[in-house]
Subunit: 360 residues, 2 copies
Amino acid sequence: MSNGRKRTTQSDVARLAGVSPAVVSAVIRGKGSHNIRVGDDTRLRVLEAMKQLNYVPDVVAQTLAGGKRRIIGLFSFEPVFPKEQNDFFRPFLLGVEKAAEANGYDLMLFTSVPVSGGRKRIYQQGINRLGLADGVILLGRNPPIDDLVRLEDEGFPFVYIGRKDAPDRTLSYVAADYRRATLEVIEHLHQLGHRRIAYLGEPQPIERHRDREAGYSNALQQGLVEANAEFRLRLAASDITDDVVSELLERSISAVVVEDIEQAEALYAQLANRGIAVPTDFSIGLLGEPDAPSQLNLDWSGFTIPREEMGYQAFISLLARLERKIAHSATQITLPCSFRTGATVGPERVTATPTYQSGV
Amino acid sequence: MSNGRKRTTQSDVARLAGVSPAVVSAVIRGKGSHNIRVGDDTRLRVLEAMKQLNYVPDVVAQTLAGGKRRIIGLFSFEPVFPKEQNDFFRPFLLGVEKAAEANGYDLMLFTSVPVSGGRKRIYQQGINRLGLADGVILLGRNPPIDDLVRLEDEGFPFVYIGRKDAPDRTLSYVAADYRRATLEVIEHLHQLGHRRIAYLGEPQPIERHRDREAGYSNALQQGLVEANAEFRLRLAASDITDDVVSELLERSISAVVVEDIEQAEALYAQLANRGIAVPTDFSIGLLGEPDAPSQLNLDWSGFTIPREEMGYQAFISLLARLERKIAHSATQITLPCSFRTGATVGPERVTATPTYQSGV
DNA sequence: CAGCAATGATAATGCGCTTTATCTTAACTT
DNA sequence: AAGTTAAGATAAAGCGCATTATCATTGCTG
């Protein structure tokens, strides 16, 4: 049907039913939209003919003629079905899938993408295959910003899952509120008595890291962290040595909030080397949730990213954009994370810098 | 581009480049197939015009006009990105994705499918949306066979992941060799001295269950299981009561091979109730691997299903079918499973029916 | 210099469907 | 009875592209 022998077409049906092709089309599309009226008996005759010929409308032709495809593309700059435990992306996709299903859309996974310099790209010698979809949801930690800019300039509707900024453009995205979530983690530490809290992050911060650090800045502004305790570190996990611990102790730091699980684990290990126990002697707040398989398998205190919800909202947001037919109108949505207590944060243990009466 | 304002078309490019639309088409398609020749300078002019207009070919139109779609559909009768731990399907999809990527195909996830009676269906009032794809890979434990039959009769190319039989039809599929794998599990039990081995399966067996049972039958034929020990049970997990254990003991059964994890766990629990330890006193071979989150979290002896490989092969097989343009030519592929030892199978403990000298 | 093959390009047709403009009757108005 | 409206259907124009048949040059052979 789709290959090999000739397809059964609308005209075949029309001929058999003794009507014009337009009527067949009208029968298929049902009432509304078109101004073709079909009598009940005629409709039945057409349906009968369709059945008899085993007729299946050609979606491609329908699409070309009609416009709406009801297809949303899904483009990931990383493998869509990751093999590793690392399930970071799955919840996003689940959310998208649910939204698609709820709205009667199909999903197109663009896997035939060109790779240049080890990175997936949207454009292949100036051509993007995304065109088959009405719009596309983008995904992945480190997209080539050029591609996004170009896509935006073309007016192709897309929504990024995760915050993405581009120079002189306002991109649409659905992001998690890392700033607020970071603030909450610090508030929690504050409630437990911590006043001297340091920040430990990726050496090469991008949007999602900067958002977290902004939360730390907010905490400073609000006095949740003592001003003279402000201490920001940007180190790769492998650079978190014993010296770092020394420095933290010298500064009387009692808690650290950490961007990434790898760094958190490295810090934990170095503390352990010194015989410093978490959370008894020292607290670590993870600014997120462990996504890579944790060797230590600790119950980290931190927050949960609403991944599935983000996927869902990305779809909805894209749909809204499509339906309003406003090509250039960015929507930026930020969803709250959920703070969750774990076993790596405890009450401050009054040591070098007693700020209070020692309570319980 | 795809919505709102007019699309940039080939004619636009042609006009700007001062050539006919056919030339633009030829430039896009590259050498071969068509008999249109384009001079180098002309080609450059066209490419320049394309770039300038930000032209993106319409895949739909390309397709309708006869070009290859390079799209393989993926239709699952169950959610594609399952929320639960139950990751049964993911490896299949991973395999398919890899194959698609390797062959420059895109994947179309059909999620906008109609649901009738709680089951996903391909046909929606006689219409299937699958037509956009060149062919489709089907997936899911309990498809409505009617849909498969109809799809097959239509000549729409598809491959099922998992064995599927339909009356009077030969369907294409990629399956795991459950029969052979079951036989291997029993051989292993045999080597450990077990001679009286029972079979425990689903109350409503379908292909994949029957294949396993066929392995048990083979084992009987080969004398791996004593003829008078033949004992086949088909019970839901909830029906596996203490009576079942009694019956097994009465028959001097020393090992059971079990189709499904749920039943295996139920049996394990009932044995434990009686104080019968696995694998010391009794052995259980699981005919597969635990897919649902196991409460017991046991290290089951059983076999591994080559899921990713199945996905990959399904794609390759479909491709072969498409390229040969043979609509009706089923390909059935069976891939071997890997036996793996776990902690639920041990040497037979000579009890009621001592067949040997009691060894170690 | 006639004859022929490449080379470079065009016009026109059609893929299968949707939709707009149009047409024909039959059924109501006043 | 003339005029209007609604119902039922059709013809025809694309949607954006690929392809086939065709044409105009130019270069080359003997």
